[in-house]
Subunit: 276 residues, 3 copies
Amino acid sequence: MAAVQSVSASQIAKIILSVRDKQPLIHCLTNNVVKGFTANALLAAGAAPAMVEHQDEAEEFAAIADALLINLGTLDEPQMRSMRRALFSATSANRPWVLDPVAVGPLTTRTEFAREILDFHPTLIRGNASEILALAGEAEGGRGVDSSDESEAALRAAEQLAATGKTTVLVTGKIDYIVSSTQKGAVANGHVLMTRVTGVGCAMGALAAACLAVSPSPFLAAAATAVWLGVAGELAAEASKRPGSFQVALLDALDSIDEEIISTRANFHAAMEPLN
Amino acid sequence: MAAVQSVSASQIAKIILSVRDKQPLIHCLTNNVVKGFTANALLAAGAAPAMVEHQDEAEEFAAIADALLINLGTLDEPQMRSMRRALFSATSANRPWVLDPVAVGPLTTRTEFAREILDFHPTLIRGNASEILALAGEAEGGRGVDSSDESEAALRAAEQLAATGKTTVLVTGKIDYIVSSTQKGAVANGHVLMTRVTGVGCAMGALAAACLAVSPSPFLAAAATAVWLGVAGELAAEASKRPGSFQVALLDALDSIDEEIISTRANFHAAMEPLN
Amino acid sequence: MAAVQSVSASQIAKIILSVRDKQPLIHCLTNNVVKGFTANALLAAGAAPAMVEHQDEAEEFAAIADALLINLGTLDEPQMRSMRRALFSATSANRPWVLDPVAVGPLTTRTEFAREILDFHPTLIRGNASEILALAGEAEGGRGVDSSDESEAALRAAEQLAATGKTTVLVTGKIDYIVSSTQKGAVANGHVLMTRVTGVGCAMGALAAACLAVSPSPFLAAAATAVWLGVAGELAAEASKRPGSFQVALLDALDSIDEEIISTRANFHAAMEPLN
């Protein structure tokens, strides 16, 4: 059983400021729908994105970059080869990496691939409830990229994935849950408009990689990611109620968030048991 | 000869509300320039986009999704394989599908491929005049993605493509024409700024797939698509005269359009003969 | 030694107006992160973008289009084949072409490929200081897409690349330098927010291709490109200080810039020696 542990707003703010200060270089092997938005989200956050795809170069670059994102959204055979070689290189160089198992469950190839690369022990797995359930082998997941299970339902699956002690899991939904082998937490920031813009979840995986690159712990990095993006969503929804302008405002908010906003808005709960 | 038939604003509004209510899952095999914008346009419309490219998964997913979009904009060999398998699967499962024959005519590979997959009988073909002419074998089309023929000129080609009774054709331009084996119509909504943003035409193909998924007839789905996007373009042009902010306003307008706006603005003409 | 030569604001304005008037068709073989933004930047500038990737079609299309962009950002094996064939076709048809050697230096495959295609004599090379140094074989460049050398440092490398008289080099940074075998210049327009949006540098390569298509000289085309985009960045920064809305404003500004704005704002210096 995971213990309850609190994360303070000032710890989260410190991660955000550290991303802006250190500008970690994030190697993104991600899907073709969201590459532009992911790069813009990382730049808005203060990090440096790079998408290097050729299998030889992906291996070279994964050791140069500060963290690696593996997102399975539009997986194909050449990308699988690049991902395997980048993972070998990144883990050999002790770089943190994030697995975003997009649409794992109903689709066979990516589900098998996702389970295969679990052997590289992702520092963080970010997925919705369906994806986390499917990755742990407990369910066949949803029809696609949207979550059809509530994130609470995936908590047991997350605990199972985190049990080795080598992986932390961020289960995203209306409430985001963070589960490691020793800690649990929940973040209640965010806004429903975030589901009306493509790539917000994928950008979250990339942002998590940036936070991992500067954080003393994956658990804290996951908390900072969920709060940063969630608060940005809240600020953006105050600026706009329509998806086109919301997307623009979301990038602006990733950039404008400061310590004071975090201290006022961060909605991190250590006591998640009643929700379980 | 196709008969003239009217479509009412309330029929169109009903399709729009139905997309928002049912949130059809649209499998998009589309080009790499517009994947993000296409997904955002579908989300703004209330539909659920998914781009699944791997050939095994494309076959799997086409039977799960509610409709399929085949857009030839950046066709390559792996995508041709995925498209063939997705088409086999989608048509076996009786899913509607849209063919967007981007730049067919001057480019050999895609022109041959487009004619090959006509055997799967697209529920709807959406193209500009050059593309429709080339697809029907009547002309070699334009230099690229922009139409160099007026859409009226392609009406005969559209009638020919629709003659089997299995396909409806949406010829887009300043005026959009809709041609089935039994009906004809024209939509005069839209704004010239729509040609200053990449992917508006491609998003129209995706929106058509979403409308097909909830519509009792392809003809009505095509009319709803042309009116919905055209009116959104008009609203966006009232909000902005520059292409960057126009693109943002266009997504907002896809979301904000309601029954009242449709009843005021829909410009559907059944009597298209004088224009022919 | 290159001679100093002045370029007037009215010469630059003439190029901009000519792009809008002639709407040159630009064949972009570019990276998957920026395809949408590149197309939108070209459309905002008044040019016509087309991304044709299949190797047979890339060869066909390069002879149809008015200029070719080769950007190495997400190079893979199929794209290398398409690029070789497009280059063969474009240069046979005497079309101008731009090489954007993204991240050349630290990554082996693209560095070798970039040097290989120098044999096709790019009409213009656009890169940051690291990339220009690495391309000329003088340094191993930076960690990724961002410049880690000041652009002044790359001037000698640029002179070496331009020495054949067949290539002009645009070294971009806080100040942009233009070097041909007979002329040198510097442009001091721009804003730091341009580094917070993905694809601004890549869009610059595409814009350069559009300017080359209508310009009497590559040197003047490079000057017009650097001034047009740089002034657009300044105008956008006056409209917004955050990266999301800055990106939108940048596209709007590419469209809104006119002769008067250019005459007021163009910051072209012929006398670059003191900076060297």
